[in-house]
């Protein structure tokens, strides 16, 4: 196991290093931030001074070298826009994204497995119809539309929920609900398909023949064996959320990492872009390790 973890860590560090190189040079190809940060009528002297302060006058390779030297000392640089350490800015935002993604994925996983299993047990039955409905909604309705319609109905219309913001549990209802729908529809379909295969297998038929109760047949014998592809999809969806739910964060005023990354790209805030990419990449690396461990826990044939 240790060997496996070390191997994964080394390959992730290499990937991360290549990613940093690519992002560092590509982001600088997009233009000089001086024009964005100073007023359009700022003097040439002010512009030169700005570039000097932020190290933009140095040759690109020297800028990269300086950045890497700082990085090995865990100094991610300062945000030009916020005049603060870029890592602090990113971690503050990442906590919000982590909460939003965590709550949503917990709910999605629980309900998708429950409903998908019941749908698979009785194909064409009421649970199966509900599963099909949610899959269709998840695949076809865009997030921003669901979010705005949700605000119009539940906030402006009924006055049940706040339009946006944070502060109470009620503030989380609409954002989580909007984020919930798409992965729920997708994972539901994967659970259903995988469970149909599992429930038609010989060991489940044997269990039924032996008189095992339907609940145990589905959730003990069938589910455990159907979970491997489901975990893969759950991991994929969770990784997407850890990169930030830009639409939901923007509309509901959640100060998450997705919105931060988009704003930083538009503002040419290079240190924040790089820090955000590294933090999310690290989080995804950790999540992939957890998924690998889950594979091993569910299937005794898998050993690292």
């Amino acid at each position: 196991m240790r060997k496996f973890l070390a191997k994964r860590a080394v390959s992730s560090v290499i990937s991360l290093f290549l990613l940093v190189i690519a992002v560092f040079f590509l982001s600088r190809l997009t233009g000089d931030p001086t024009n964005l940060y100073l007023p359009v009528d700022a003097s040439q002297e002010a512009r030169d001074n700005f570039r000097q302060i932020h190290g933009l006058n140095d040759p690109l390779l020297m800028q990269f070298g300086n950045y890497m030297l700082d990085l090995v000392q865990l100094d991610f640089g300062d945000s030009i826009r916020r005049a603060r350490p870029a890592l602090d800015v990113v971690l503050e935002a990442f906590v919000w994204t982590l909460q939003l993604a965590g709550i949503t994925m917990l709910g999605v996983t629980f309900f998708a497995i429950l409903l998908g299993s019941l749908a698979a047990f009785n194909v064409g039955g009421p649970f199966d119809r509900i599963a099909t409905f949610f899959s269709l909604i998840g695949a076809s309705a865009p997030d921003f539309w669901i979010a705005i319609v949700g605000i119009v109905i539940f906030s402006v219309g009924f006055g049940w929920l706040p339009t946006s913001g944070t502060g109470t549990v009620w503030h989380w209802v609409l954002p989580v609900a909007v984020l919930f729908i798409r992965p729920f529809g997708l994972i539901l379909q994967v659970v259903r398909g995988s469970m149909i295969t599992a429930l038609s297998s010989a060991y489940v038929k044997t269990a039924r023949a032996k008189g095992v109760a339907p609940r145990a047949t589905i959730f003990v014998h069938g589910l455990r064996n159907a979970m491997l592809p489901v975990i893969t999809v759950i991991g994929d969806q969770a990784a997407g959320m850890l990169n930030g739910a830009v639409v939901v964060e923007s509309i509901f005023g959640f100060p998450g990492v997705g919105k931060l990354m988009i704003d930083s790209i538009l503002q040419r805030d290079f240190a924040v872009i790089l820090a955000a990419i590294m933090v999310t990449a690290f989080a995804i690396f950790l999540m992939n390790i957890l998924i690998d461990l889950a594979y091993a826990a569910l299937d005794p044939r898998i050993r690292y």
């Binding site: 233009g31 007023p39 009528d41 906030s155 402006v156 706040p162 339009t163 913001g165 109470t168 005023g253």
Partner: protein, 499 residues
Amino acid sequence: MNYRTHLLCGAAVLALTGPAFAADTDVTIALNEELEVVEPCMASQSNIGRVLLQNISETMTELNTENGNLMPRLAESWEDMGDGTWRFNLREGVTFSDGTTLDAADIKHSMERTVSPDLTCEIGAKFFGGMTITPTIVDDLTIDLTSDPAQPILPLLMSTLTIVPSETPMEFTREPVGTGPYVLSEWNIGQSIVLDRRDDYWGEQPVVTKATYVFRSDDAVRAAMVATGEADISPLISQNDATNPATDFSYPNSETTYLRIDSSLPPLNDERVRRALNMAVDREAFLGTLIPADAKIATHMTVPTTLGAGVELDVPAYDPEGAKALLEEARADGVPVDTEILLLGRLGNFPNVTEVMEALQQMLGDAGFTTTLEMVEVAQWVEHYSKPFAAGDKPALVMAMHDNNRGDPVFSMYFKYACDGLQSGICDEQLETDIAEATATAGEGRGPAWEEVFARAHEISSDVFLFHMVGYSRVSERLDFTPTIATNSELQLSQIKFK
């Protein structure tokens, strides 16, 4: 516990997690953009200015944007001492929110800090570039400011300089201290900023006791927040959301849209071609369709309330046939009128900007021009807008929107029209002389001097002026507050009353 007990406990928890009741005199303001810094010397940025300007940080003078008059604020009076020196007499008994008393040393430090090369303050770069200001303390409440070159409008410039205590370090502060009626009491990064009223403010106590600023980038959400009572003011909503006459206001936002002509290259260096461009645009057709009906057709670079901009200039008549005739005349004289012209717009510059650019391209095409339309994001656009122009040797028309609510054209005209002006597309000897004269003129003659500048720019068809724009705000019915032209850059809580 049975299920009823569970339900009751759940209800109690949810009730306790609900929002605390706010005082009747507290307000919530929904802004479209988060504040990344709360630095007073950056308060010329509208998102920062709406929170800090005159609420936390005050200035020595204050511009009345309605009538263009300059009013005392931290300075009670000022006088021209000659040779570029102005003397400012400070108000007595003014204290900062940290308890220290305002004196001339604070003014000196604020001035030096704002123009310091270590900070790159926007106020310094925007209003004090190209000049040197030397502060000299006369006594605790008197300071001389000497500018080189001499600035007849130095008192007006002082309406932009935010005053901080002399202890403020030479780096961006995260705890702004000012003399204003409010103090920053909470900054929840990315979520909200809270200002509380000071009890020891030197002036009249405002009615609003506490202001909470929240940040929502979506127009519809900000409008919905005021509609549901979650917020009291949204200074900026979209025209589409401004549907309730009881709460929604349009106001001139001091922005002027225009096509900047690069007159250094043929065929745009020919005055007939520039006149033809102006005649090709049907400005009336935009109003009430792609541009709000309340917007005004522009003939100047600045809004009419700016000094000298009240001069009546004719709107170029929409005459595509006349434009074609002018182009033919120019062609006969060897002007390459068929040269392809780049028509460049900036994505998100104002609502419907892409559609406006497409309509302009159509109108120019109907008048015989050949154009290619490009819509770019802000960073690329700036490279075309400021010298050296990125289009290189390709003639270009750049859609721009210029904001000047400071009451004097000097903040606009040099940059836009002088031969060395950073965004100037023209170099005209007479215009250059007129700008220099108007800039140096003080007193009664300054207005007429600027009138001549506007008239000359109009005469040589320097640009294709389009509209003085409007913005839309939503204000709760419980407030007695009407947005004005100043709302684009500041939102003084002391001007908010309750019905």
